[in-house]
Structures are given as structure tokens and as C-alpha cells.
């Protein structure tokens, strides 16, 4: 940088002033159009002939307040399941993806097993896995059978592990062979190459789709309630059955969205950062 004081030219100052004016204009236009659209929407909905009926059966504050404790305790189950299952599925997915990259005849059975797993569990509907594990397996009456919640969690981990394994594998295979050649030429072993060169790049590249699957998992963890445990949606269902009012569902829905917002925000941020890095900016 020059040590002489720099003064922008008249042309540059005119440009800067113009850009500032444009920015202010854009903000005003956006605010005005948002306000107009919002008003129209509110008028259309509240002016609808059935609005009062709908408000009573879906948006009753008293019922929401009564249902809140039950729905919240259900949501706590969702959150715990989400954290544990996401961690389990990420680990399982990474492990399976790594096993599928092993070369050599010794590893044939491992590769075949890993491939069979991803094919099976990506094809099987989650509900069927859940029923088999939570209803079928306890039927065996084996000693030391884990509780239904653990079995349900296992179903989620197995199903999502299959998806995540494919995401990880796509990432690993996207790393150019010249990176492997460079690492091996330095004397790094296959494992060191994976650990220090391939995986760090691969995981960075597939972080957005991985997080996207975690957001999807968040909605699916509630399905364990099919086997008995009470999650937020099931709690809302019970409350609805008692009051014949659908407000608890809306409550649960709002809580789910609130829970998802930070996760989705992180996903967007990571995606943006990955895109920036890709373009070398």
C-alpha cells in the first residue's frame, strides 16, 4: 500500500454516492412490498367465511397453554434422540463409506457387506425398519433386550447411516487421484493419506448435504412414537384427542420449526462457505 494519502477521484465519489442511493432505494422498495403482501394475506385469511371456526379449533391460546408441558416433554425426547441418532448415523456412515473404499481381495467380504448394507437400508422404508426392530426383535424374548427407545434409535441410525454413507463416499470419490498420488509419493501410508489428505477435504465438500440429512432426521425421529415412546407430535395427538381441538398440533409444529431454524441456519452458512471456497474467493 502506498504511504501517500489516497483521495478518491471525483468519478469514484460519484459512483459511491450513486451506490448508496441505490441501496437505500432497494431497502425501501423491499419494505413496502413486504408490508403490502403481508396486509393482503392477513385480510384474505381473517376475512374468509370460516375464519372464526378455524381460529377456534386450531389457534386456541388456552388449549395451547394446557398442552404445552406435555408437548415440551415430548420435544425433549425428540431432541435427545436427534443428537444421539445424528452422531450415531454420522459415525456409521463414515465407517461404511471407508470400508467401501478398501481395495484388495482380503477386504472383499467387508466391501460386500458394506455395499449390501447401503443398498438394503436406503431401499427399506424407515417405518418398516422401526416396526421390525421395536416390535419384532423384542418378540424374540432374548435376555438383556434393550428398551424399545434404544431399538427405535437403532432403526433411525441404521436407516440414516445408509444415506450418510453414500454422501461420505461421494465426497471421498470426488477427491482427485492426483491428491492421492501426491500423498503416497511423500511416503504416507494408505491410512495416513485417508486421514490427513482425503477425508478432511471430502468432509468439507459434503458438509452441506450431510447437514441437510440431519435436518431431515430431525423430523423422522418422532416416528419412534409408533412403538410407544411419546414424542412431541404424539403428545399433541393425545392432547387433541382429549379436547377435540387441533391447537396442540400447531403448537408442536411451531416448536419443530423453532428447533430446526438453528440447524438450517448452520447448514446454509456451511453451504455458503463451501461455495466461497470452491470459487477460490
Amino acid at each position: 500500500m502506498s504511504l501517500l494519502a489516497y483521495t478518491p477521484s471525483a468519478a469514484q465519489r460519484r459512483r459511491a454516492a450513486y451506490r448508496r442511493r441505490q441501496t437505500v432505494r432497494s431497502v425501501l422498495v423491499a419494505a413496502a412490498s413486504t408490508a403490502t403482501l403481508g396486509t393482503l394475506l392477513v385480510l384474505a385469511v381473517t376475512g374468509a367465511p370460516g375464519w372464526d371456526r378455524v381460529r377456534e379449533s386450531f389457534l386456541d391460546p388456552a388449549i395451547a397453554r394446557d398442552a404445552l408441558p406435555a408437548v415440551l416433554s415430548g420435544l425433549w425426547l425428540n431432541i435427545r434422540l436427534l443428537v444421539l441418532c445424528a452422531a450415531g448415523a454420522l459415525l456409521l456412515g463414515l465407517l461404511v463409506a471407508l470400508l467401501r473404499t478398501l481395495r484388495g481381495p482380503v477386504f472383499f467380504p467387508v466391501r460386500a457387506l458394506a455395499a449390501g448394507y447401503t443398498y438394503t437400508f436406503r431401499g427399506l422404508p424407515l417405518i418398516i425398519v422401526l416396526y421390525v426392530l421395536t416390535l419384532g426383535v423384542p418378540g424374540l424374548r432374548l435376555q438383556g433386550m434393550p428398551p424399545v427407545l434404544v431399538l427405535g434409535g437403532l432403526a433411525l441410525v441404521l436407516t440414516y447411516g445408509g444415506y450418510l454413507a453414500e454422501v461420505f463416499r461421494a465426497g471421498i470419490e470426488s477427491i482427485h487421484p492426483s491428491q492421492l498420488a501426491a500423498a503416497r509419493s511423500l511416503g504416507l501410508t494408505y491410512r495416513q493419506t485417508m486421514r490427513h489428505v482425503v477425508l478432511p477435504q471430502a468432509v468439507r465438500r459434503v458438509a452441506p448435504p450431510l447437514l441437510n440429512d440431519v435436518v431431515a432426521l430431525q423430523k423422522d425421529v418422532g416416528l419412534v412414537s409408533l412403538a410407544g415412546p411419546i414424542d412431541a407430535v404424539r403428545a399433541a395427538q393425545i392432547a387433541t384427542a382429549q379436547t377435540f381441538n387441533y391447537t396442540p398440533y400447531i403448537l408442536a409444529g411451531v416448536l419443530f420449526v423453532l428447533l430446526a431454524i438453528p440447524l438450517i441456519a448452520v447448514t446454509d452458512w456451511v453451504t455458503l462457505r463451501a461455495a466461497r471456497r470452491q470459487s477460490g474467493g
Binding site: A181, A183, R184, S185, L186, L188, H196, Q201
Partner: protein, 247 residues
């Protein structure tokens, strides 16, 4: 004693014979330049020496040890050979310093401080000390290639294999990389380099080998091979190079 001895190397890709009974000997402190048309097998030869390709026949000895023996651990061989690629192949997720210290730390199990001190010293010597903490995508092509050479040197190799290390560079950046190779020669490094820079081969090489049809067709001091070639195919190749204005 010879650092590298290749005897009767054969390599084919799906029936297409690339190396066909190739012989090559490189003495200690010697610089050997491989020249030849595109597709003549220069890169393939270097990759075979570094055991990145499996041979179809022939033997390779490094310091008298047969490294083409399948019982030899290739990782142990590769850490004694430094290789530099046309496309640099730096690790984009690691800083310059981390690129250079990766092998010393993970392969040679040197302490981090120790490896970093050595790396900074090497980087300083080639004028890249200020870039130690930069990521590769912030460097010019010439700087990236010099880092790649430093990364290979950090292993303190017996032999350096350089595969057209200036071909991907803008003309004004070629000089800085060639200067570095000149310094390596002055330090007595044994090197095999594939190159299209005939002027540089003439200046830096002790021996020039012309590859054609998978063999070394003509080998000798640069003045002889590039100046008074005896083989018709060498003459033909050089004529084409001169016509293209590259000599």
C-alpha cells in the same frame, strides 16, 4: 555407485505398450533429463520409479536395493524419493507450512516444532518464508510449484523426480522454478527430470536421454544429444522442436 538403476522396464496400459525394455542408470549427484514426444512415457517412467505404477517387467534398484521386489514396502521406498508433479498437487486444505511438514511429522515421526523449524528454514531459503501460513490457493503458480519442491525436499530424499515441473506455468514464472532446480544441482542432489525445456536441459543436465517407443533411444551429454544427435529419430524430434521455436 549408481543411485538408480532401471533394467528392462516394461509397462503397458490395456495392450498399449508404453515402456518397452527401458534401461536407465543415474549416478550419485547426477542430473538426468528425459526428453521425448508427448506420450513417449516420461511420466510413466517416473511414476514406475516411485512405485506409483506396477511394473509389467524389469527391475528397479535404488542404492543397490531392488525396490521392484513385491516384498519391499513401497511406503518405505517412497519416503527416500521426492516427486514433484506438473500440476503441483499441493494439499488445498493445508497451509504451506502444513503441506511441508506433513510427511516429516507423519512419516518420519518428527516432533512438530522440529519439523516446522526445518520447514521454515527451507521456505526461507527459497524466499517463501512469508507465505508459510498462507493456503495454496493464495499463491501464484510458480510459488505453488516451489512449495511442492520444498515439500518433497523436506523428506531429505536420495533422489528427486521432477515431472515437467514448469509446463503448467506462465512463461514469466518458469525462471524462478528453474533457478531453484539449479540450486538443487549445486547442492549435489541426484535428479531425474522430464522436461520440454531443451535450453534448460542443456544447461543443467549431466545426461540427456531421448525416449521413443518405450526405450531410451539415445543418451549422452546434452551437447552431444541435443547438438549432434546420431539417431534419426532424435534428429527428427529435435527438428520439430526447433520448428516450434522451443529450442
Amino acid at each position: 555407485m549408481a543411485v538408480l538403476t532401471c533394467r528392462g522396464l516394461r509397462k503397458e496400459f490395456g495392450g498399449h505398450v508404453v515402456l518397452d525394455g527401458l534401461d536407465l542408470t543415474v549416478a550419485e549427484h547426477q542430473v538426468v533429463a528425459l526428453i521425448g514426444a508427448s506420450g513417449s512415457g516420461k511420466s510413466t517412467l517416473l511414476r514406475c520409479v516411485n512405485l506409483l505404477e506396477e511394473l509389467d517387467d524389469g527391475t528397479i534398484e535404488l542404492d543397490g536395493e531392488e525396490i521392484s521386489d513385491p516384498r519391499v514396502d513401497p511406503d518405505r521406498v517412497r519416503r527416500r524419493i521426492g516427486m514433484v508433479f506438473q500440476s503441483y498437487n499441493l494439499f488445498p486444505h493445508l497451509t504451506v507450512l502444513q503441506n511441508v511438514t506433513l510427511a516429516p511429522r507423519r512419516v518420519h515421526r518428527r516432533a512438530r516444532a522440529d519439523a516446522e523449524a526445518q520447514a521454515r528454514d527451507l521456505l526461507d531459503r527459497v524466499g517463501l518464508g512469508a507465505k508459510a501460513d498462507a493456503y495454496p490457493d493464495r499463491l501464484s503458480g510458480g510459488q505453488q510449484q516451489r512449495v511442492a519442491i520444498v515439500r518433497a525436499l523436506a523428506n531429505q530424499p536420495r533422489l528427486m523426480l521432477l515431472d515437467e515441473v514448469t509446463s503448467a506455468l506462465d512463461p514469466e514464472l518458469v525462471g524462478e522454478v528453474l533457478a531453484m532446480i539449479r540450486d538443487l544441482k549445486a547442492d549435489g542432489m541426484t535428479m531425474v527430470l522430464a522436461t520440454h525445456e531443451m535450453g534448460f536441459a542443456r544447461e543443467v543436465a549431466d545426461q540427456v536421454c531421448f525416449l521413443d517407443s518405450g526405450r531410451v533411444v539415445e543418451a549422452g551429454p546434452p551437447g552431444q544429444v541435443l547438438g549432434e544427435p546420431t539417431q534419426p529419430r532424435t534428429r527428427q524430434f529435435l527438428r520439430r522442436i526447433i520448428e516450434a521455436g522451443r529450442l
